[in-house]
Every structure is written in C-alpha cells, then in structure tokens.
Symmetry: C2
Subunit: 346 residues, 2 copies
DNA sequence: TGCCTCGGTGACAGCGCTGTCACATCACGT
DNA sequence: ACGTGATGTGACAGCGCTGTCACCGAGGCA
C-alpha cells in the first residue's frame, strides 16, 4: 500500500503507537519533548492518519453529513462551500447527501446514512430541517444534528438551530417597493413545503398591512422555486386587467423568470414594472437590469451551523444563532410610471 | 451503538459471518437456500454494512472521489449529480473534492485524499485532468483514475478518459452565425488554463477559415469563465469603431455577461447584435432572450466517466468514450441588421 | 519515612468487516 | 471402490486506528 501507519511512526520515534495517536489528535497529556520527537517523525515519514480506521475504532468518524433537498444549484454550492470551510478548519470530513424531504422513510434514510459511516452528526438544511416528526425520530437514534430554519426569532425549541429571519427581510423589500410608490405589488410564492416561503409571504403581508394597502388575492401566485414558475406567474400577473406595477419573487430564480416574462412582453424593467427577488444569487447579479434582492449568505449560514454542530459533538454548549438577510437595492426597482404615461405593449 | 453487525445476522441465520458477507456482496458461491435464509435475516434485523469497516478491511473502500476546480456552480452540481447517479446505481460511495488545479503539490494532495479514505479511484474533471505531469505521478501511486478532457477525437493516450469534442461544437456555433450572414463575429475566450477554451477557439477559427472570413485579433478578447469578464469583454467589442454583429462567448456565463452588456448599452438582442454561448446551463435557458448555445450534458459525461472508473476498478477493460455537444438554436441569434438600418444606441 | 496523587506512557483488546486458506461435501468418471 | 474437481462454508488473522486500564516515577503532604 505504501502508506505510512501509526506503527511506522512509533518505531521511527521510539515511542508507542498510542503516543503517536495522542500527538496526532492534539491531546495535551504528552511531554513537550516527546511531542516534538513524534511530530518530526510524522513529518519525515509523511504520515497521514487513515480516516477509515480512525472512524471505525473511535466513537465517531470525525465526519459530518450535509443534507439538502433543493433544486437551486447556487444555493447548494454555497452551502457546500460553507460546510467545507468549517470542516477543513476543524479537521472534519464532509459527506454530502441530497435527498427527498417528503419521503416517508426520511428518518430511517438519514439514520442509515449516519450509521453506515459512523458520521459524527448532520447539518440539516431547509426543507429537510422542517420535518419535525422525522427529526424527533432521528434524535431517538442519538444522532446529533443542527438544523437551519426560517424563523423571525430564536425558536428556543427542542432542536438546536441556526435561524434566518426571512420575514423581516421580505418586509424590508416590500417596504422598499411601497416607499417607491407602488401599491399594486404582485407576489410570486415559492415551494409549498418550504416554511421560508410562508415566512416571506408573511413579511409581504405585514408590510402591506402597515402601509394600509389591501392584500389582493389575485396578485398572489403559487409556484415553485424555479424559473419557469416565475415566468408563468409573472405572465399571469401582467395579463391582469389591472396589472401590478411591481413584482416580488420569492427567490431570485423566480424573479429572473419574472424579469424574462416582462421583457418577453415588451415591458421595460424597471420603467414599466419593478421586479425584486430574494437570495442575492448570481441570478440577481447577472441579469439586466440586476435585481433588487435580499442578501442571504447561505455559505456563512451553513458554516455557522457546521461549527455549532462540531462544537456540540465536542460536548460544548452552544446557543442558537440568527441571521438577518440584508436589503440590496439594484436596478430592477424604480418608482411606478405615472398612469397616464404608461406605454403600450409592443 | 444499536447498529446491527454481520455477527448478529450470522447468529440469527445460523451461518458464519463470512457467509453473510458473501451474500451482502452478491458473491455467487452461496447456495440458493442459504442465501435466502441470510437475506431474510438481513431484512428482519435491518442490517446495513458498515462502510468504514468494509473499507478498512477490504482492498479499497468502494468509494470514489470527484475532483474539480471550477467556479461554475451549475457545472459542479451537474457533475455531482452524474457521479451520484452512477455511484448509487453501482453501490459505491462518493467523496467530493474541490481543489486548486494550479497548486504545485497537486499530485500529493490527491494522493493524500485517496489514501486517507482508501478511495477506490478518482474522477478528474477539467482543468485538473489537464495537469498531465501530476497525473503521471498519481499513477505511480497506483491510484486508478479516469479523466474528462476536451479533445476532438480519442487521444488513445496513456490515461483512460472521456473526451468532449468542444472544437467541432464551437465550429457548429460559428458556422450557424456565419450562415445567418454574420462576418464580424467577436469571440470571448474563457479560462487560460482550460484546454477546452483553446479547443473552442480552434473551432471558431476553423469555421472562419472554411468560410474565408479573416480572423481579426481585435475581435478576440481574453477573459475568465465568469460573468464579469463576459460583460467587460463585450463592452469592449461593442465600443469598437466597427463593432461585431455577433458575439460568441466561450461559455454561457460569459455569454450572459455579454447579453447584459448589450442590453446595458441599449442594444436589442438579437436585432442589433447576436449572442451565443456554450454549455446549455440555466444561464442560457433563463435569460431573455434565451441563448443559442451548445448543449453539453456534464451530468451524463461525468456519469459515464464514473461508470468507466468503477468498471476499471473491477478489472474490466473499457474503451475511451467521446461526446459531441449539440447545437441548440434559441432566440439570441438572428441575421445581422442591414447596415443602413442599424439603429442608434440610446 | 510512608502514603497518595497525578502527569506521562504503553499494552492490549477491540471496532466490523474482508482475504485467505482449509475443509466438508457432492457429482462425476474410471 | 477410488480419485478428481467443483462447490459451498467456516476459522482465523488482520486492516490501522482508539478506548481502557495498568503502570511508573516524581512530587506533595502528614
């Protein structure tokens, strides 16, 4: 195999394998001089611990699992980056796991995933993190996890979590549109299973209410977190007898769909209609005009969750932490065009 | 731990642990009746093999590594999906590994990655797959790998590979533009370290040559595979005294940047300028107008490479396989506007 | 001086599998 | 009747680590 083992290092340094193990794992109960000798031997031989052996032998594998169920590539990559950053830093491995959050055997599937690799714990992202019944089961299997959820404040509930305040961020976006003078504001909802989607809608509704603007059912369209639903939903809104002057898409992909829909109808954004998204994904930065949105750092959020998880695995107590997405105003929103000057569609 | 082991199953079925192992691994040297008895026991106890133990004990871990160095999220996700599909199907695990392909210690880093987990092999994607010196080193470590590269035909070289014919696909796109009547065709190059970028340029050049259109240096702009370089590069082209009537971006993200640049200048696509990309990523489908591009199924390509790798690990002989991206004509390309009617910029 | 504590170290037994080899059994041909 | 080879099965020794416990010597205290 050619690969160097603990025993090789032990022989080279003139100590026992166990002592090398102690040094490799940074335990402090080793005399300074011994430690140096071992470190030199490790260096000279180019020793790398075999992670399988460590995992098999120890109580856990120093590896965590990242679980997601999401169609959004940017989101996934950002989450993976965040998890990797934390894992690399803390010397843990990472296993990724796409799954179907609506599957009935979810808890069992996650248990298998964790037990087969002796995973140290799981980071559960939305919407998997919202299947509380499954999570309760998971906990009985004694598998540590941290979940990322959408909540306006610390839920202080039974599960440790990182929470993202989608509601207030959606409130901020809606307020931004109201202050520009928009009154008819369309809302394109995202994934029904996503609690975040409901929270964003709540923010939209609250803002309308606080500005005494009636909520009109015809301006709210259901859909999924995908471009095509944004396109179709926006077309439907723009075809109304009295179309909205602004459209708020539940995420950037939906908003990009709405943008394309407006442009395909010959409308100019933001002059004829304003469009806002949510996420600050490349979709919003790389469209023309770039989209007003709410910046949500999925990488930072997941990194935080990963660090929390590892801290818990190490037996430390950690408090839940919240994140507030931040309003980012770009070129896709502007005051509504005065009614009289509204230009005809091509 | 609560998790069921081989011995538990063996006791329950009244056979030896080794026999259970044989059944679990689908070896055929087990009597049909014994197999059934063992399978029933596995079922009843809910046995799942521990992958760490299997990997530690066996000659390899039935897990492959996917190595990439790419800024393009869609591309990465597509590749991961392809690799996962093959791994799930063939009962292998998957480890992902972003890395810096230009790092000097690349071979050593990959060896560590593989040896620490006893990985069965690696799938190397561009541009990591192009660092042939490192690959030669990797081979001396006896780590199996399959690489994905850009080549117009089977290289039949020292390393097994899946090859993608970028050159002919770029030729097809350029020809498409030429046949529409374009003569001044801008080309936005991508990543200098990417062989694919050079191949695409070659296809562009060959097409111009075959149509007796001179290659003009001022119409070729260097850049990276990112939106911003597409934007800047296109701005530069459009600001020329004699701007191109069509722009070919080396991938969809670059093309999306070019599209935004055109729109930001007040030009209408495709009426004032045609734009084409490469990849068929969501960027091309979800812009307005949608981009003419070359469909390249990264998921299918990586799945194929993964299957090849696993076949080789199993000792089978496998031939290299090639893929031809396919021209997809969408709304972003059209005949050039007659010179006289060219409309002024806003 | 004797007793106890404690930091530092090593011996040893697994973790849950697979590779290897030996052995039992059976059908077949002589 | 016997050997021969194919077939099915089990015993056993690891894979390379870590958890546990035992041990040794130095220092503190009575």
């Amino acid at each position: 195999m050619g690969s160097v083992t603990l025993d090789d290092v032990a022989a080279h340094a003139g100590v026992s394998a166990k002592t090398v193990s102690r040094v490799a794992n940074g335990e402090r109960s080793v005399r300074e001089e011994t430690r140096r000798r071992v470190l030199r031997a490790i260096e000279q031989l180019g020793y790398r611990p075999n992670l399988l052996a460590r995992g098999l032998s120890g109580s856990h594998a120093y590896t965590i699992g990242l679980v997601y169920d999401n169609p959004n590539a940017y989101y996934i990559i950002a989450m993976q980056q965040g998890a990797l950053a934390a894992c690399d830093d803390l010397n843990f491995g990472l296993q990724i796991r796409p799954c179907n959050s609506m599957a009935s055997g979810l808890a069992g599937e996650l248990r298998d995933f964790a037990q087969r690799m002796r995973l140290s714990g799981l980071v559960l992202t939305t919407p998997v993190s919202e299947r509380t019944a499954s999570l309760r089961r998971l906990r009985t299997y004694r598998i540590p996890f941290v979940r990322i959820i959408s909540a306006a404040r610390d839920p202080r509930d039974e599960f440790p979590c990182v929470y993202v305040n989608d509601r207030d961020a959606a409130y901020a976006i809606t307020t931004h549109l109201l202050q520009l003078g928009h009154v008819r504001i369309g809302f394109l909802r995202g994934g029904k299973n996503h609690h975040a989607s409901a929270e964003r809608f709540r923010g939209y509704r609250n803002a309308l209410h606080d500005y005494s603007v009636p909520l009109r059912d015809e301006l709210v369209v259901e859909g999924d977190y995908i471009f095509d639903d944004g396109f179709r939903g926006a077309r439907r809104l723009l075809d109304l007898a009295e179309p909205p002057t602004a459209i708020f898409g539940c995420n950037d992909e939906i908003a990009a769909g709405a943008l394309a829909a407006a442009q395909s109808t010959g409308l100019s954004v933001p002059y004829d209609v304003s469009i806002a998204g949510f996420e600050d994904s490349p979709f919003s930065r790389h469209s023309w005009p770039p989209l007003t949105t709410a910046r949500q750092r999925a990488d930072v959020i997941v990194e935080r969750a990963t660090r929390m998880l590892i801290a818990r695995i190490r037996g430390e107590q950690v408090a839940n932490q919240g994140f507030n997405p931040e309003l980012v105003v770009r070129g896709s929103t502007a005051p509504p065009r005065p009614r009289s000057r509204q230009r005809n569609r091509r």
